[in-house]
Amino acid sequence: MRYHIVLRYAGIILLINAAFLLISGIISFWQGDSGFFPLIYTAIIAALFGVFPFIFVPSTEEISIKEGFTIVVSSWILSCLIGMVPYILWGGEFTLTNAWFESVSGFTTTGSSILTNIEALPDGLLFWRSTTQWIGGVGIIIFALSILPSMGKIGMTLYRSEISPLAAANFRYQTRETLRIIMTVYVGLTIVETILLMFCGMDLFDAITHSFATIATGGFSPKNLSVAHYGSVQIETVIIVFMILSGINFGLLFLTFSGKAKTLLKSTIFRTYLIMLFVGVTLVAINIHGTVYGEWGGTIRHAAFQVISIGTSTGFASADSTIWPPFSQMLIIFFTLLCACSGSTSGGIKVDRIVLFWHAIKKRITEIQHTHAIVKAKIEGLTIDDDVLEASLLYIILYVGIVFISGLIISFLGVDIMTAFSASAATMGNVGPGFGLVGSASNFAGMPELGKWILTGDMLLGRLEIFGLLLLFLLKSWK
């Protein structure tokens, strides 16, 4: 392992962070708020650390999978570390633990917050908070690749660690083209949503920060009441549309916008994703009608927003779903575990693996019925290898196991069961709000310190698709 190569590429990530910190600092300077020095100082430190490896380490064209993987994982962790510095420097509610929690929550696009009064933060710091999600959303590594001078094999090596296996099959391009696609779709969606939100009455700052959080399926809002602050059906509708779009594989989205909408409509994953959301919204609407909301209009509005917000791992809130009936809460917890499609910015187990899981069950049943038959699982005409099915099943089991164990540890710390397990599922799925004390209308401030550290571990595990983070600790035994 050539650690100096890792240093050089991690330096690029730090430079990207430094650039966004600088923009946030300029906003603070413009507003004359107290976020200026913390942001600028962090930008300088990030830039100095980022530039230094370039002075010593010569560029290289070749990079091993192991090195590429280490660059990806260390970039996430480094970004989270540098991202917490402006929070610590600013003070207020940000202790060491809280700053780490907020930073990890941002970069992993989770959207869980420890802030009891978000609006007390200066504008520059609020912008940085949203930016962390935007950077994290597209994957810091993809960002880095778009400016890396040496692409070729290096790109794909790094890319493999970032997106789950099925998503890769959807891209039939070279890495450079793939990155161009992702950036075009990502930036395009952000701009369009910002404009639409401004048309609906939001000011520029709120529109940008909400767009950042929507496209990244993050959920950080600069308002204490999240999207409920605006009480606007138009704003909620725009956000719902963009949350659904952000949960779709970005390659498929690009094809759709390029006039090849058939590809999207033919996609089993996409259809399953939409059907699941539709069924979820319908069931929740039926359940809360009459018990929480009297009119069908309000019922459908809040059911759609909350289910889609959680189902796409965004985590915005238009209402307090902790007061909804248990059936609706259980359904939302199901979506907390599931989330959207691979190749999008969402977290969770993902619809792709649920489809694979379903095909694995069908395959097993057929094998039992026809003991001598050689049965192969097929999706959209593509034969799925047994090891892919096995890997998906293993991932689901491991995922649920980690949620259970971390929930168990948090409940041991004195937190009630609903809060502990929903917090664990919400952070592992990079969703944001859970239920109980960490519901959509509250925050994670009351969580024990150790609990916050466990939950940040869940966020990183979820974002790096479990194996990504675990393998970092097993580098020496990785041949």
């Binding site: 002075i55 510095v85 003070g91």
Partner: protein, 249 residues
């Protein structure tokens, strides 16, 4: 980039980190000083003046009770000195209006005190008011309480502002110390990276070149040392290589 420039860049980066942290800490410490002075100037003087006014009011209340008991001389003496003390404290507070809403409270003090003073300025001893506790409770004591309440409101306003400023000072103290802590941690991490890179790109190649020369000198093995960087070390390696090649001829 040459070794000298690389080393200089490394030390310069460390120096910049510490310099900015130091400058920021000085700026924040200076602000703490300003905030403390602000607390003293804006709030402490007014709080002290309010305390003196309350004390003067209470002395006046006692003096009125003496007058009710028929002790004219003692009562009037106390009233005179307490009134002087009240006026002095009131002037201090009036000339130190610095907080929004403070002027309204000063006006309220003036209004309520004037009403109170009118009551006890009139003769009490050897009039129908002497020994008239009903008059005292109905008019004098009620006036005394409203004047005292007005002064207490001024004190509460200054207390709240002082608390807010003190909280701000606490935050500023945090901001003064944190850059230093971050700079120390960053400099430490940077020193480790710097040392790692110096070892990798300067020390290790020198060891390899030395070992290559020794091996050539001892056993005549060919000198084959590859250096990744394009600096003095790579020039040294190629010079040694060409020297050995020339000596072989």
């Amino acid at each position: 980039m040459g070794i000298r420039a690389k080393m200089f860049a490394g030390f310069l980066i460390m120096a910049v980190m510490l310099l900015i942290a130091g400058a920021w800490s000085i700026y924040e410490l200076n602000n703490i000083g300003i905030s403390v002075q602000k607390v003293l100037d804006e709030n402490y003087k007014s709080i002290n003046a309010a305390k003196s006014m309350i004390e003067a009011l209470e002395r006046e209340d006692s003096a009125i009770l003496l007058l009710l008991l028929g002790k004219r001389e003692e009562g009037r003496d106390i009233l005179r000195s307490a009134d002087e003390a009240f006026q002095t404290a009131y002037e201090t507070a009036r000339s130190n209006v610095t907080i929004p809403g403070e002027q309204e409270r000063i006006d309220a003090i003036s209004r309520t005190y004037d009403r109170y003073k009118t009551l006890w300025s009139r003769p009490i001893v050897e009039t129908a008011r002497e020994g008239n506790l009903d008059w005292y409770f109905r008019e004098v004591h009620a006036s005394f309480l409203s004047a005292k309440l007005a002064v207490q409101e001024l004190m509460a306003l200054n207390d709240t502002t002082m608390y807010q400023t003190a909280s701000g000072v606490e935050n500023r103290a945090h901001r003064a110390t944190m850059p230093g802590i971050i700079a120390i941690i960053a400099a430490f991490v940077f020193a480790l990276i710097f040392s790692f890179l110096i070892n990798l790109f300067i020390v290790t190649p020198i060891i390899r070149i030395t070992s290559g020369i020794e091996q050539y000198a001892e056993s005549g093995r060919s000198f084959d040392v590859k250096v990744e960087t394009r600096d003095e070390i790579s020039k040294l390696a190629s010079s040694v290589e060409s020297l050995i090649a020339r000596s072989k001829k």
